[in-house]
């Protein structure tokens, strides 16, 4: 701003020349004001802390409030404090939060501002820009506080209706046509004794507690798992429709995962896209690789991975399919979501089919509705779907129905 030091030196000279004691008081006053305002401004701003509180994960379109807590930890009052946070535009308009306030000694204030998860993604919030200064305009200080917090906006989930899949369904558990063997290591509850139950299965402590014979229940030894393989290799997308097509592919993946998880299925995700949190799940040596698991927590983890996924120049989709094959259990369902079907892809899917996996191909492209794709997939023994609009997920009857495979599945 402006510097009074030259005048202070002049005052010293005048006071020393004329030996007027009173002038030294004025010198002390001016110099004291100058130095103490600097120390005040710097010291007060250093002890200001900002904390941000908001839900770290939201669904698309969800609106929420970000609560800010600004605290002055020193005994010096802050005459004015300028708070600024630049927000990512996909979350809010006009894309910033600004507020000027004052803080007394050891005082705390709270502010809120609205945000909305308008677009899928992984967004950094912060750090806060703080500015303050003295009351005379000698100095202004700026700093950053509050650190960076991250917000995850899950992708859109389109509720799936019945897709008219044949029995046995390529998704989920087998029907009761095949017996399921119980795994004695996977205890999952008790039930009342029925004639014919083995005495070795009796749960004696539960029986004593309930005064009725109780028998242990075990989970089946064989469960079917689903692996969603999402192609986010930018080279395999048409450049003109890259954004729309890749987002649609992610929406399809998220909707399928949510549907299957709701059916109590184990779902996993493998993709060759980039994860904004690099190295988050290097289980398969891939950017995003989540092995099939049950439960809502796993679903949220999967949706979080999809929220962060980006198209990238990475592994080819065929290579991805080959890489994950050894990691999947026998009988798992592989859902391949890709923007285009090619002969090598169909060959690879056929190999997977013959290896015992159940294969579903979803092509996210406007040309996916051709009957040639359907017939070809049918002849190779797996089903294929074409999705170009989100409505295609909701109203499958409008898209060509998938034809059942001509061969019986070897089970």
């Amino acid at each position: 701003m402006f510097n009074p030091l030259p005048f202070i030196l002049i005052i010293i000279l005048i006071a020393s020349l004329f030996k007027v004691s009173f002038f030294y008081y004025l010198l002390y006053l001016l110099f004291g004001v100058y130095v103490l305002t600097h120390l005040w401004a710097r010291g007060a701003l250093r002890r200001v802390a900002v904390r941000r509180c908001f839900p770290e994960r939201v669904f698309l379109g969800e609106e929420f409030q970000v609560n800010l807590e600004v605290e002055n930890r020193s005994w010096l009052p802050v005459p004015w404090l300028h708070l600024q946070e630049n927000l990512p535009l996909p979350l809010a308009a006009p894309g910033r939060f600004r507020q000027v306030t004052t803080l007394g000694p050891r005082q705390q204030r709270q502010f809120t501002y609205p945000l909305a998860g308008r677009f899928r993604g992984y967004y950094p919030l912060g750090p806060f820009g703080l500015a303050s200064g003295d009351v005379f305009g000698f100095t202004e200080e700026q700093t950053k506080a509050g650190g960076i917090d991250y917000l995850t906006v899950y992708p859109k989930i389109v509720p799936l209706r019945e897709l008219g899949l044949p029995s046995p369904t390529p998704f989920g558990r087998l029907r009761s046509r095949e017996p399921l063997y119980e795994d004695p290591a996977r205890f999952c509850g008790v039930r009342e004794y029925q004639t014919g139950d083995s005495l070795r299965k009796v749960h004696w402590s539960a029986s004593a507690h309930s005064r009725q014979l109780q028998v242990k229940k075990f989970s089946p030894a064989i469960t079917l798992e689903t692996a969603i393989c999402l192609n986010l290799n930018v080279a395999e997308y048409e450049l003109r429709r890259l954004d729309y097509t890749s987002e649609l592919a992610i929406v399809v993946a998220a909707s399928l995962a949510s549907h299957l998880s709701g059916q109590h299925q184990a779902v996993g995700l493998f993709t060759n896209g980039a994860d904004l949190l690099a190295g988050a799940a290097p289980e398969a040596g891939l950017p995003i690789a989540l092995l099939p698991r049950y439960g809502r927590d796993h679903l949220l983890q999967l949706l979080g991975a999809l929220a962060r996924a980006q198209v990238a120049e990475g592994l080819a989709f065929l290579e991805l399919l080959r890489t994950i094959r050894p990691r999947l259990p026998w009988g798992a369902t592989v859902i391949a979501i890709t923007p285009q079907e090619t002969t090598p892809l169909l060959d690879t899917l056929t190999i997977l089919r013959r290896a015992g996996f159940r294969v579903v191909l979803i092509v996210v492209d406007r040309l996916a509705r051709t009957s040639a794709l359907q017939q070809r997939a049918r002849s190779l023994g797996f089903t294929a779907y074409g999705v170009w609009r989100e409505e295609d997920l909701r109203r499958p009857d409008r898209s060509p129905r998938p034809v059942r495979s001509g061969r019986q599945i070897d089970e």
Binding site: I8, I11, V20, F22, Y25, Y28, P77, T102, R109, F136
Partner: protein, 619 residues
């Protein structure tokens, strides 16, 4: 939306932009120009009054016509509704500051010319400042329009001429009027000229300062019009308007500080009597800092600085509010409410601290510097003597080894510090000295910090100049001295280490033969079990120094056999001690003093035997 309240407090009123003021500005269709005011007719919504063409005077040339035609008052700025603080406090502070400055000038004038009648000059100056403020406040630009100034100043100047007759009386006025008629130049006497110049100065300073205060506020065209209005697109295509609100405050502050320096100088001249300075001895006394101390209090000077600082503070608040308004930032109303108490409290605190500091001194700077230098030299010489004595002490065994007497340190008495002698006075001498040291410490500290801050701040600009090169050279010297100190201290450490290694080698000791660093261990604190263990381990260590170390896998009994074979004289005591050690180390029952006491006796005998062996081996 923002909530800005303490828990339990009702939320305060939301801060809104100045309602009708900004809206009218936003709706104005006039293109924004910094200055001068546009001459085109404004739209009905614009606040400025339309300017009318001056009436033409028939038969006059252009220059004459311009001189004779009535003045065209400059386009007026719309004055937005002012708050109490801005509407009253700002002009009050500005006018007060200027009047306190004027008081200093008047005092100087009275010192030069005691007959000067200044009884009504200050009230007249106050009126002048007020009119200048109100006039300047309404102008949309700071252009100096001589005709307008003339029209507004002339009555005030004439009033300055006539107010002197309030004391002189009407008859004197009548006589002087007659004299003026006959000799018009007699109208302009010295007092009148000086008073007029002072009034013009007051007018000019108030005018310019008010323009600076105007520019701190929001200017036309800074805020965009409402987005649904046609003016918004014109504002967009016009490129908006960026106004500098910082430079006016900087100008205001510079003017305030410069005025303060001038005021101090004039007040000092007035205090010492300017006429006295016109002699050579007085001038010499002045420039050599040997004038006697003056203890007068200059209230107008203090009030000038206080009012000036308050005005700057208010200017800063105005500037910040404007910047926040342009940014469309929500501002808590508490900022404005707390501003004045914070400023007032801070100034009072600093004033209080300033009054505690010393302003007088009994010793000159030269005396203080001489004292400090002598103290430093005394301490340095003491340190050198101590160092020499230590070296002599360390080397005396060497000299004893070679059967020579060590050198004695030279008997040089360290120079005693030259302590200043305080002049006789009511206070004790030590207090006078202390006060002087404190005073000079503060002054030198202020000077040093100011020079350092200035050079650091301007290093970029003066980097090529003499001051910059001097600063860089001083810094380089300082760094060189620091490097030299580090080198010397490192070299000293290395030399000490080398000397100790040489001593060890000269005495024929093996590295590490001195054993581990002796630790202070109090045997009284050990229990019986720990004592027995300590006795045994102590024997192991002593035997180890003789070269009879216990092997890694050797049990205590195996080691006893080995040691006994080499030192038969220890047999009678070694076995009982070994047995006692095994009992103390591995048993679970209690070990009492009745077991520790015989073990101690064995240990002492073993220690004696091993020490005998050790001395025999050395010789």
């Amino acid at each position: 939306m923002s909530k800005d309240q303490r828990p339990g407090e009702e939320p305060g009123p939301a801060t809104a932009s100045p309602a009708p003021f900004s809206r009218q500005w936003r709706e104005g269709l006039e293109a924004p120009t910094p200055s001068p005011a546009p001459e085109t007719a404004a739209s009905p919504a614009a606040p400025e009054a339309p300017r009318r063409a001056p009436p033409r005077l028939a038969g006059c040339s252009g220059l004459l016509r311009d001189l004779l035609s009535p003045p065209q008052f400059a386009a007026e700025r719309e004055v937005a509704p002012l708050g109490r603080a801005e509407g009253f406090l700002q002009p009050a502070l500005l006018i007060a500051t200027i009047l306190f400055f004027l008081t200093g000038l008047i005092n100087l004038g009275l010192a030069l010319q005691p007959d000067w009648d200044t009884s009504l000059l200050l009230p007249l100056a106050a009126m002048t400042a007020l009119i200048a403020y109100l006039y300047s406040r309404r102008l949309s630009s700071g252009t100096i329009l001589p005709k307008e100034w003339l029209v507004l100043l002339l009555p005030l100047v004439l009033l300055a001429r006539l107010t002197t007759y309030v004391n002189l009386g009407f008859p004197r006025l009548a006589a002087d009027v007659g004299r003026w008629w006959q000799a018009p130049l007699s109208f302009f006497d010295g007092d009148f000229v000086i008073s007029s110049l002072l009034l013009v100065l007051v007018w000019a300073v108030t005018f310019v300062s008010t323009q600076d205060l105007n520019r701190l506020r929001l200017q036309r065209g800074e805020l965009p019009p409402p987005t649904d209005s046609p003016a918004y697109y014109m504002w967009l295509t016009g490129g908006g308007r960026q106004v500098d609100h910082t430079t006016p405050l900087r100008h205001l502050a510079g003017r305030f500080l410069l005025g303060g320096a001038i005021l101090l100088f004039c007040s000092a001249l007035a205090a010492i009597g300017v006429r006295q300075l016109l002699s050579a001895p007085a001038l010499l006394e002045l420039v050599t800092f040997r004038r006697p101390t003056l203890t007068a209090v200059y209230l107008n000077v203090l009030l000038y600085f206080l009012c000036g600082l308050l005005l700057l503070s208010h200017g800063q608040l105005t500037r910040l509010r404007t910047l926040w308004q342009v940014e469309e930032t929500a501002v808590s109303p508490l900022v404005g409410r707390r501003w004045a108490p914070l400023v007032g409290g801070f100034l009072l605190l600093v004033l209080f601290l300033a009054l505690l500091l010393p302003t007088a001194y009994s010793l000159t700077l030269a005396d203080v510097v001489l004292t400090l230098v002598s103290i430093v030299m005394f301490i340095a010489s003491l340190f050198l003597q101590l160092l020499f004595m230590l070296f002599a002490l360390l080397l005396s065994p060497l000299f004893a080894l070679f059967q020579q007497t060590p050198p004695t340190p030279p008997a040089i008495a360290p120079p005693r510090p030259v302590l200043p002698i305080a002049p006789p006075g009511a206070m004790p001498a030590w207090l006078e000295v202390g006060k002087s040291l404190l005073f000079w410490g503060f002054i030198l500290g202020i000077v040093g910090y100011s020079v350092y801050a200035l050079l650091t701040h301007r290093q970029g600009r003066l980097g090529q100049g003499a001051a910059g090169s001097l600063f860089a050279r001083l810094r380089a010297w300082g760094q060189a001295l620091l490097s030299l100190w580090r080198y010397l201290s490192g070299a000293t450490r290395r030399a000490v280490r080398a000397a100790s290694s040489a001593v060890v080698a000269r005495l024929g000791l093996r590295p590490g033969a001195m054993g581990p660093r002796p630790r202070w261990l109090s045997l009284r604190r050990l229990g019986p079990r720990e004592l027995i263990v300590y006795f045994y381990l102590s024997i192991l260590e002593r035997a180890g120094r003789l070269g009879y170390r216990r092997g890694p896998g050797q049990t205590p009994q195996e080691y006893s056999q080995t040691l006994q074979a080499r030192l038969p004289e220890v047999q009678d005591d070694l076995w009982p001690l070994t047995a006692a050690f095994q009992e103390a180390r591995y048993s679970r029952h209690d070990i009492g003093p009745q077991q520790a006491s015989p073990a101690r006796q064995h240990w002492q005998r073993l220690k004696t035997a091993l020490q005998r062996r050790w001395r025999a081996a050395r010789s």
